[in-house]
């Protein structure tokens, strides 16, 4: 699961020329980012509703995936229990709206606050444990709350779930219903961009470097004086927060939440996304989401036991490409750059 970023090594060889190229590359990548942004904004109104809902799902799950990768890809904590936060986020928004009739923004805040508390408490217990224990403990956590959500029907609605109508949102200059397709689309898109920007900043900050140093060598990081437990906890809570956010958005989109939000598939999927797309990157997990969503959308239509394929896929991806698709792309571009530098 550990891989070294050879980018730093190659940077020194290039000298002044290389730094120029690096700057152009940064510009190119941010240009690409803006292009994708514009494309998604422009494409919104023209989409047919089937594709639109698929897009929405992908965007919501991308938030989950990017957050999860902070945990798995940046600090090497392989959590098997993020569905807990996904479900908590969903119920965190459903219950206040249902019982206290609060508005969207306040409900979102409440959902995030509850997820934070859950993530922090679970993190306190589980983060300091060793790798194998961590996987099992997180699995136990989500399993217990899954069972609880199934049985506490008075609160969660159990298998039947709760359906809810989110009141219209007041943006100051106008009011919108969340259930307008376009409003929903742009709302989710807004959160996706916010998530990307926040996480990008964190990853590029000193904090992100500490995360990576913990991933590469936890003992060395603690010898350097970093409080490894605290940083790992921070990464865990951060990823829990975004899982909660995406759970809340998912519940808003479906106007509905049931105990399945805590289910096993929401724990396993983020791992597949990250592995498939590439751990330790932000774009990679999103690519993983797109691939797996398309796959589920089309395959589950004609074969109900597509989970077999998911299982095979999981093993094959683990085996073939530990760095995922992004890792592959990166190594290719690096090869090309090396050739240029040598020539």
């Amino acid at each position: 699961m550990k891989h070294r970023n050879s980018c730093q090594e190659s940077e020194e060889t290039g000298g002044g020329l290389h730094s120029l190229m690096e700057r152009i590359k940064v510009k190119r990548s941010s240009l690409l980012f803006l292009l994708v942004l514009l494309l998604i904004i422009m494409i919104g109104p023209t989409l047919p509703s089937g594709i639109m809902s698929l897009m929405l799902e992908m965007m919501i799950l991308s938030i989950f995936a990017m957050g999860y990768d902070i945990c798995l890809g940046y600090t090497d904590q392989c959590s098997l229990g993020h569905s807990l936060f996904f479900g908590v986020g969903a119920y965190g928004i459903l219950l206040p709206v249902l019982h206290f009739n609060v508005g969207l923004w306040l409900a979102l805040l409440i959902a995030l606050a509850i997820t934070f508390v859950f993530g922090f408490l679970e993190g306190l217990i589980s983060v300091r444990l060793s790798e194998a224990y961590f996987v099992i403990i997180t699995a136990i956590f989500f399993f217990i709350f899954f069972l609880l959500a199934l049985s506490m029907t008075w609160l969660t609605g159990g298998d039947d779930g709760l359906s809810v109508q989110i009141p219209p949102v007041d943006l100051g200059f106008a009011t919108f219903s969340v259930y307008n397709r376009l409003v929903n689309y742009y709302l989710v898109f807004f959160f996706l961009v916010i998530t990307y920007i926040i996480l990008k900043r964190i990853v590029n900050s000193p904090l992100g470097n500490v995360f990576i140093s913990i991933r590469e060598n936890q003992e060395r990081a603690s010898f350097l004086g970093y409080n490894v437990f605290r940083y790992k906890l921070a990464a865990f809570v951060l990823s829990a927060l975004f899982a909660g956010l995406s759970g809340a958005l998912y519940a808003i989109r479906l106007r509905y939440g049931n105990a399945d939000f805590f289910g096993f598939s929401w724990s396993v999927n983020p791992i597949i996304w990250s592995l498939l797309g590439g751990m330790g990157t932000l774009v990679g997990p999103c690519i993983g989401v797109v691939i797996l969503s398309l796959f589920q959308y089309y395959v589950s239509g004609w074969w109900s036991q597509y989970l077999v394929i998911v299982g095979v896929l999981l093993i094959v991806v683990l085996r073939v490409s530990p760095k995922g698709i992004m890792g592959y792309i990166r190594s290719k571009t690096q090869e090309v750059r090396w050739k240029k530098v040598q020539a």
């Binding site: 699961m1 090497d76 392989c78 098997l80 217990i125 300091r128 444990l129 060793s130 790798e131 194998a132 224990y133 961590f134 996987v135 099992i136 403990i137 699995a139 136990i140 399993f143 217990i144 069972l147 609880l148 199934l150 049985s151 396993v268 791992i271 592995l275 036991q305 989970l307 077999v308 998911v310 299982g311 095979v312 896929l313 999981l314 093993i315 683990l318 085996r319």
Partner: protein, 246 residues
Amino acid sequence: MAHGDIYMAGAVLSFYVLQWFGNFWLALIIVPVAIGLISIPIERFVLRPFEGRPAVTMIATVGIAFIIQQGVLGIYGGTPNKMPDPWPVYVNLLGVGYPGYRIMIACISVLIITALWLFLYKTSYGILIRATIQDKEMASAIGINDNRILMATFALGGVLAALGGVLAAPINQVFYLMGNDVILLCFIVVIVGGLGSLKGTLIASLTLCTLEAGMTMVLKPIEARVAIFIVMILVLVFRPKGLFSE
């Protein structure tokens, strides 16, 4: 991770063996051997490449669990089936008729645990296993074939899980999700007892199951399970590596 489903596979296979041969005792022997034989190639070709990285191995076993579960769903179907009681004898225990089969299960499990303990702690092969788990490189340096040991250990785990499944099949319903009920309890037991400690696992499973059974008298089953979960958290807060780990 996959052991819950191996347990389930054991139960389902025993259901089929019972259908074909009409003999439960035959299933008790055939099924674990078959599962053991199946798990050897699984270890060799699926899990071996991830050796030494516990988290990755676990994720891979999740994949295996998916495949087993959905495969059974496809072949066996989603409806639970009841198996006939293989030993319909009732023992009069303190004035209450107690099914003889359950007593037999208790005897068999005591037998198996004793055998396992003797195997791990008194035979030379058990010493090899423990040495390999403690320090794999050192073990292979002094000439132990560590790959074969790991394969055998995984197969042994599969055999035991399947045996558990076969034994539990007549008591519980045979259902493709029956592994999920067990795996949670197994995880909690292993965590509380400490990984790699047979004694700890045994004591933890006895106390926790007694606790759960005792609490179901006053609480709902789900609440009893949550209570056990709280016990586990308390243990972890004070002993992060479990009660009996070295």
